[in-house]
Symmetry: C2
Subunit: 420 residues, 2 copies
Amino acid sequence: MHAATREELLTVDGDRLWASLMALARIGATAKGGVKRLALTDLDRQGRDLVVSWGREAGLAVTIDKIGNIFMRRAGRNPALAPVVSGSHIDTQPTGGRFDGNYGVLAALEVVRTLNDRGIETEAPLEVAVWTNEEGSRFVPVMMGSGVFCGAFSLEHAYAAKDTEGLTVREELQRIGYIGTQEPGDHPIGAYFEAHIEQGPVLEDAGKVIGVVPAVLGLAWYDCVVTGMEAHAGPTPMPLRKDALLVASRIMQETVAIANRYPPYGRGTVGMVQVHPNSRNVIPGQVKFSIDLRNVSEALLTTMHTELLAFVERVRRESGLPIELERVSYYPPCPFEEGCVAAVRAATQALGYPSMDVVSGAGHDAIYAARVAPSAMVFVPCKDGISHNEIEDAKPEDLEAGCNVLLHAMLGRAHRVGNG
Amino acid sequence: MHAATREELLTVDGDRLWASLMALARIGATAKGGVKRLALTDLDRQGRDLVVSWGREAGLAVTIDKIGNIFMRRAGRNPALAPVVSGSHIDTQPTGGRFDGNYGVLAALEVVRTLNDRGIETEAPLEVAVWTNEEGSRFVPVMMGSGVFCGAFSLEHAYAAKDTEGLTVREELQRIGYIGTQEPGDHPIGAYFEAHIEQGPVLEDAGKVIGVVPAVLGLAWYDCVVTGMEAHAGPTPMPLRKDALLVASRIMQETVAIANRYPPYGRGTVGMVQVHPNSRNVIPGQVKFSIDLRNVSEALLTTMHTELLAFVERVRRESGLPIELERVSYYPPCPFEEGCVAAVRAATQALGYPSMDVVSGAGHDAIYAARVAPSAMVFVPCKDGISHNEIEDAKPEDLEAGCNVLLHAMLGRAHRVGNG
C-alpha cells in the first residue's frame, strides 16, 4: 500500500487482488510469464468459469447475454436503480500479459469482496462485467461484446465472425457454454468504470500512481502508396530517378511533424512499410506504408487530416509521382462523462495518490460502454509502458491503489449506505 | 543503319548480327520474351556450342581455359602480337533478357565475320571472348570467369562455389564439357573492348546512339540498423517515443542528398528496408536498411563515405538512438585506359553517330579485364533503361551502330592491313 493512503479510508485487500490475478493468469500461462487465452477457447471457458465461481462465492447473481457478456450483480438497497458497473475482459492476445483486461475484472470483483467483508450496502446495485472478445485476436471486430451491447454492430454480424479455422463466434460461444439468453444491451447501466493498466509510458515516466482518464483518443488510419520507377541503382543518374522511397520518407517524417504540431495528445506513427522490390541495388519502384494519426478532439484530428492531405498533395506536385492516400479506418475521440471522471478524480485525491490526467491511446470496452452510460476509466502504470506482450508487468501496490480508487469512485456513484 | 553513318566507311552486317542474337536467344527462351540460361547448365552448354560452332565456321581457333572462358582467335599478320580481344558473357539472370552479355559476344563475332567477308587482315590477332558466369545468379562470385582470369580470386575458390543444389562449379564445368586446359590469365591480351547495352536510361533520355564509357563507377554498400523502442502508437506520447523509422528516414533522405551533392556521377540509393515489428499501430522498434553509394573516382566516393558517417553520427547524437553502420562491400572505381577510350571515341566520331560519355553504373567483365589489359566499353541504348528483366529490349539499328563502333575501335587498335 502506498504511504500516502489515508488510514481512515476504506481500502481493498491488495494481497487478495494479487492472488486472484495470479490464479487467473495460470489459465493459459506461457513459458515467458505471459498468458495466451484467446476468446472463446477452452482456456477462455476455464477463465470464465473461475471468475464466475468467485462471483458466486461472493454472493453475486450471474447473468449472461447472447454475445457471452457476463454481469455479476451485488444487490443494492434500491433494486429499481440501474447498477454501477465495473469490469473489462479476460481474453488475451496470443502473446498477452497477465494484467490487460484481467485487472479490470478482478479489481471490480475485489471492490465487491471488500464491501462484503465490511457488510457495506449501497443504494444502487453493483455489477462486475466481463466483456466478450475485447482483443479481437481470434475474431474480429475487436471489443466485440461491448460493441454488440452498445449497438455499434449487430449480434448477427458478431455471430458470423470466423477464426482462421472457419469456426464462428456463435458455434464457439455455444461450445464453451457462454451463449446466454439476455438480449445484449437489454441491461441498464447506471454508470461504468473500468480500471486498466495504462499500456503506455506516461505514468511511469511522470512517477504517478493513478491516471485519471478524461478521454480516449480518436484515430484515423491511412494506407499510402507511392509509385516510382524501379531501376538499377548503378546506371540510373539521380535526375532521371523516380525513387518511391525518397518521396515516401518525406511523408513518413511529416506524419511525425504533424503530430508534434498538436501536443500534448497528437500522435503520428508510420508502423508498417513495404518496399518493392526491396533489393539492395534497385531503386524502389513502389512503397506502401501505413499512417496512424490520433488526437483527443475531432477538431484537432480533422486539422491533422487536412494537413496530411495538403502535404501529400504538395509532394505529389513536387515529385510528379503518383501517390494514393486512403483513410481505411476512423474512430472518433471518446470523451468520458464529466461526472464519472470527477468521481475518479475525487477518489484519487481523497486517497492521496500521486496522479495526473492521462488520455487513453488504445481502445477499451469503456469506449463502447460510454455510448450507453456515463463512464470513466482509472489507469495504473505498467512497466516500461509495455503490454500486448508476455513481459507485461505491473506493481502490486499500484494495482491495489487503482482498485482503491475504483472502490471509492463506485461508492460515490452508488451511494454508500451507513458504515457497515 | 543510322542515316549519319558515312557510306565510305566499312560497316558490319546489322541483319546478320540481329539474326545471330535472335538465334542464341531461342536457347532458354521464356514465354515473356526473355531468356533464362543460367551459367553451366545444359542451356549454357547449348549456347556455348552454338557460339563456338559459329566461331569455327568463321575460321577461328578455339581455346578454353580452366574456368571455362572461351577465346576464339582470328590470326593476325604478326602472331607475336597480343590479340585485340572483345567479348562478354552468354549466361543470363533467371529472368534475363536477350541482349545483356549476348550482344557483346555476338558483336565481336560480327566484327570478325565482317572482316572475313572483306578479306581484311590485321597486324595483331583478334579474339572473341566468352567469359564464364558473369551474372552470378547460380554461382557466386559474379564475373567469375574474368575474375579468375585477372587474379581477383583463385581458380580453386571459383571451383568450390556451389549452387543451391550443392553442385560445384568444377563439377558443372566438367559435366557440360567446358573445363579447358589453359591456366586462366596465361593468355595475353593486347587490348580489350566490350560492347554492351547501357542498362540505364541515360542514352535514351539524351537521344544518343553511342555511349563512350570512360569508367565504371566504384561502389560502397552499407548495412544500417537503427534501434528504437517498440511501443503502442496510441498510448505513447511523441516526446517519449524512440521511433526507429523517424531516425532511419532521415538517413534515407541524406543518402540521396549526398549523391546529389556530387554530380554527375554520384549515386545514392536505399533499396532494401525492413521494419520491425512492421505493424500498423506499433512504433517501429528497429529499422534495417541498405545504403548504396557510387561515384566515378575514389576521392569522390571517399568524400561521400565521410559525409555519410558524419551524418549518421549527428543523427545518433540528436536522437540518442543506437545506429549501426557497416560497410559490407566495396569496389573501387575503374577508369578505362585512355587509349582504348580514345579509340572508341574516334570510331564513333568517324561514323558520325550521336554520342556522349556514359559511365557504367553496373559491373562488367571489362572491369576485371582492365586489370590485365588496356580496356574500354561501348554502350548502346536499351529500352527504358531496363535490363535483368525479360522485357529488356534494344533497337536493331542501335545494336548495329555499336557493332560498327566496335569494329573500328578494334581495327584502330589491331592495325588494319590494306583494304581487303
